[in-house]
Amino acid sequence: MRKLSANSASVRWTLRLARWVVTLVITFAGLLAVTFVIGRKIPIDPVLAILGDRASATAYAAARLQLGLDRPLTVQFLIYVRDVLHGDFGMSLLTAHPVIEDIQRVFPATIELATLSTMIGVLIGVPLGVIAAVRHNRWIDHVARFIGLVGSSVPVFWLGLMGLLLFYAKLHWVAGPGRIDPVFDGMVDTHTGSLLVDSLIAGEWDVFFNAFSHIALPAAILGYYSVAYLSRMTRSFMLDQLSQEYITTARAKGLPEHRVIWRHAFGNIAVPLLTVIALTYSYLLEGSVLTEIVFAWPGIGSYLTGALLNADMNAVLGSTLVIGVTFIALNLLTDALYRVFDPRAR
């Protein structure tokens, strides 16, 4: 009986895995096709990005030929798919580097910023949301709602500039735009692409603190938006749970309040909250273009935008695919975590 049960669990897991793989392949193929067609149809001439506007007609024709733009769209697409499956995203027109190398450089910068921002969001936003719900309509609830309101109405570039003006220019608490001071640039070997992690690995504390003083403000600004969103969502979820009968029952049974709140109410919002946190994180992983521009942060958001505006289609497609795959992977991870937090999903 136990063997039968183990077999059926194994079959279930295999089927689930197969479903995931099929979903991944279909999503990936769709992403590839849509971005490719959009990329080829936008009215920007990539040849001008390479040659400038005074090149001779022969040089222009040769560049078009070299880029394969003379071929039918379907042929261009098939060639691209073949190359991608071989791990070759092509060369970036704008940086003269293989797109995969560019992404290896810019994506860790975004991951570093997004991770720190999400950590701030979770560590501050979630407790704040819980308190706001528990102390409904008290001063702390008003504070949480005000933070949420500001976070959803103030443009990020404005807050970024004001943050720079106050904490960098006036108070000198943090370093200015950029990832690191030029004097520290290139002092540690690249292992992970995260300057914080790489400097720790190298034991270079000066580099670590300098990199931290550069990332602190953009992470805090983006983190503020995460705090605003997460506290609002947590508060809303908690208010819903706290009004349920099982909470009244738990209290009537004499359970300590912290157990009622954290074990019963918070336990029940863990799954939707996990979805919200994953969405926030994946949104930040797409790169916050305006923040990256204000803080001269060389992340994937500004890389993708620059590529798009200059018709650097290899870079656009490569970045989109990486972001898409990350998004899918985060969704799958969230799905898997559902099973940890919610027994009904097992």
Binding site: P43, I44, D45, L48, A49, I50, L51, G52, D53, R54, A55, S56, A57, T58, A59, A62, L93, L94, T95, A96, R105, I120, L123, I124, P127, L128, I131, L161, F167, A169, H172, W173, A175, G176, P177, G178, R179, D181, P182, V183, D185, G186, F209, F212, S213, A216, L217, A220, P256, E257, H258, I261, W262, I293, V294, F295, A296, P298, Y303, G306
Partner: protein, 535 residues
């Protein structure tokens, strides 16, 4: 309930304290070292580092400081030239062959000796690569078919360049003194050659020069780090130069004020005014060889009429736009040769006169005006100036519909002559008047199949006589006569042309007090870091 609040508050407090303590731990004020020069600029134009391929402004500046060339124009007197790798030069009696004697003992950054063979090969290479930069050398008749014969190593210290026809000597020297003629390390590039690419694939991300500074690291859209070349011809004060990509002007200003950069190159007029007032930076203004103009496509019957073209020139409120929109970054300039060029006419005869414009429009058969479109690239100040022009033209009933677009999108439309009005910029490749005369007053073939798609062609303006005059001025060896020829052409074009030239760009360089020696010329190819010093 209280316990919950305490737990949650404690968690939030610990998180905030952690963040704040780490944040405050980093020392924020870090002025740049005395022998390091850091500059905030835009680096998003870099698509390659190969001088044979570079065709954008800031990349030209990088090439100018990492590579040498035969000669360089004297910024103080553009009719004179200083030898770079050339010790001396001479022109043959027929004016066709230029012979250069190369300085002895020069070396590349790699340690390889720099010889006449490298110089000849470098010029041949740019022409044979046939990328955007080749267009400059084609100006003196160097083509794929003749370059091997016309650019020759005479002996180990002598190079000769033969042109296809007689040109003004200053023009030839300007072309050979421009970045496409940069001297590259032949031996090094051949060791990296793939097929017939002349080492282009490798050089796109590396460097093979003999200039004052050598490349340490290029991180696309982030920074360029240069190191002093200790084997250079004369001593250099700065050991390291860092160019940082800072796309936001306000961020550039904050970095400059806090001493994290020594120079900021892309500040807004408001930032510049505030910095000057505060005394935190010294601002210098340098007129650039970049003109902002309207191109009127004469395929549009209304825009083809000379009266309409003239009326539009009278409708623009040049001074108003300059003082309210362009401010310190542009000055009014109405002729096709920028101030500082040989033969430049620095007169601005047009100023807004609506009554005169209306009379001209009535004479042309448009008493109530007409409707047209104007293609405008995104970004400051193009959109703002286009809107001001739109309002100016509306005063005489000309209804302009603005079509905003990305730079390359609007440029592609312009190059295919699909526009009505195009508002754009034209930058000279070198500071010889021909660079602009060829752009505005030269159109040897107005057909769609033309191989020369310069500005006159793009606006479908057929000008056989002006084309002849441009060619004649190019061949004139007397500098005085040449200047007179260009002045005559400018006068003609002021009266009758489909170009409403409005402004000349002014580069504003903001430097920290104590920073000296950043030589900024009218084009990026003439920006030099060699005399930089910090006190």
């Amino acid at each position: 309930m209280k316990l919950v609040l305490r737990n949650a508050l404690a968690a939030a407090a610990i998180a905030s304290t952690l963040i704040l303590s780490f944040t405050a731990a980093g020392p924020a004020m870090a002025a740049t070292p005395k022998d390091m020069f850091v500059m905030a600029t835009f680096l998003d134009e870099f698509t390659t580092l190969d001088p044979g391929e570079v065709y954008e402004l800031v990349p030209e500046e990088y090439v100018a400081n990492t590579y040498d060339r035969l000669v360089r124009v004297d910024l103080k007197d553009p009719s004179k030239f200083n030898g770079d790798v050339a010790q001396s030069w001479a022109v043959s009696p027929d004016g066709l062959t230029f012979t250069f004697k190369i300085r002895p003992g020069l070396k590349f950054h790699s340690g390889n000796p720099l010889t006449a063979d490298d110089v000849a090969w470098s010029i041949q290479r740019t022409v044979l690569l046939d990328k955007g930069a080749a267009a400059v050398l084609q100006g003196i008749g160097l083509t794929k078919d003749n370059v091997l014969g016309n650019v020759r190593k005479v002996d180990d210290t002598t190079v000769s360049v033969t042109t296809d026809q007689k040109y003004a000597p200053t023009f030839v020297l300007n072309v050979l003194g421009a970045w496409p003629a940069s001297v590259v390390d032949k031996q090094l590039l051949l060791s990296h050659q793939k097929g017939n690419d002349f080492g282009n694939d490798w050089l796109r991300t590396n460097e093979a020069g003999s200039g004052a500074y050598k490349l340490v690291k290029w991180t696309a859209n982030d920074s360029i780090v240069l190191q002093r070349f200790d084997g250079y011809r004369f001593p250099l004060a700065m050991k390291r130069i860092v160019l940082r990509h800072v796309p936001e002007a306000s961020s550039q200003r904050l970095l400059l004020e806090n001493g994290d950069v020594d120079v900021a190159r892309n500040l807004s007029p408001d930032d510049l005014a505030a910095l000057t007032k505060s005394g935190k930076a010294q601002v210098s203004a340098v007129p650039q060889a970049t003109l902002l103009y309207l191109g009127l496509n004469v395929r549009n019957p209304a825009l083809a009429k000379p009266e309409v073209q003239e009326a539009m020139k009278w409708l623009i409120d040049y001074n108003g736009i300059q003082s309210n929109v362009a401010k310190t970054t542009y000055k009014v300039h109405e002729t096709f040769l920028p101030e500082g060029f040989l033969g430049a006419l620095n007169t601005n005869p047009y100023q807004q006169n609506v009554a005169k414009a209306k009379a001209l429009l009535a004479k042309a058969g448009f008493p109530n005006g007409f409707s047209v479109t104007m293609d405008v690239r995104n970004g400051y100040p193009y959109g703002e100036i286009a809107e001001a022009v739109q309002a100016n033209l509306a005063q005489a009933g000309i209804k302009v519909q603005l079509i905003p677009g990305d730079n390359k999108q609007t440029l592609a439309k312009y190059r295919s002559r699909m526009h009505d009005i195009y508002i754009g910029e034209w930058s000279a490749d070198y500071i010889d008047p021909h660079s602009n005369a060829q752009g505005f007053a030269w159109n040897p073939d107005n057909s769609d199949q033309s191989a020369y798609k310069m500005l006159a062609w793009r606006n479908s303006w057929s000008i056989p006589d002006l084309t002849k005059e441009t060619t004649a001025a190019l061949a004139e060896s007397s500098t005085v006569k040449r200047a007179e020829l260009y002045q005559t052409m400018q006068k003609q074009m002021l009266m009758n042309s489909p170009f409403v030239i409005m402004f000349q760009q002014v580069s504003q360089v903001a430097a920290r007090p104590g920073v000296t020696g950043l030589d900024v010329g009218p084009i990026n190819d003439l920006v030099s870091y060699r005399d930089l010093k910090k006190q």
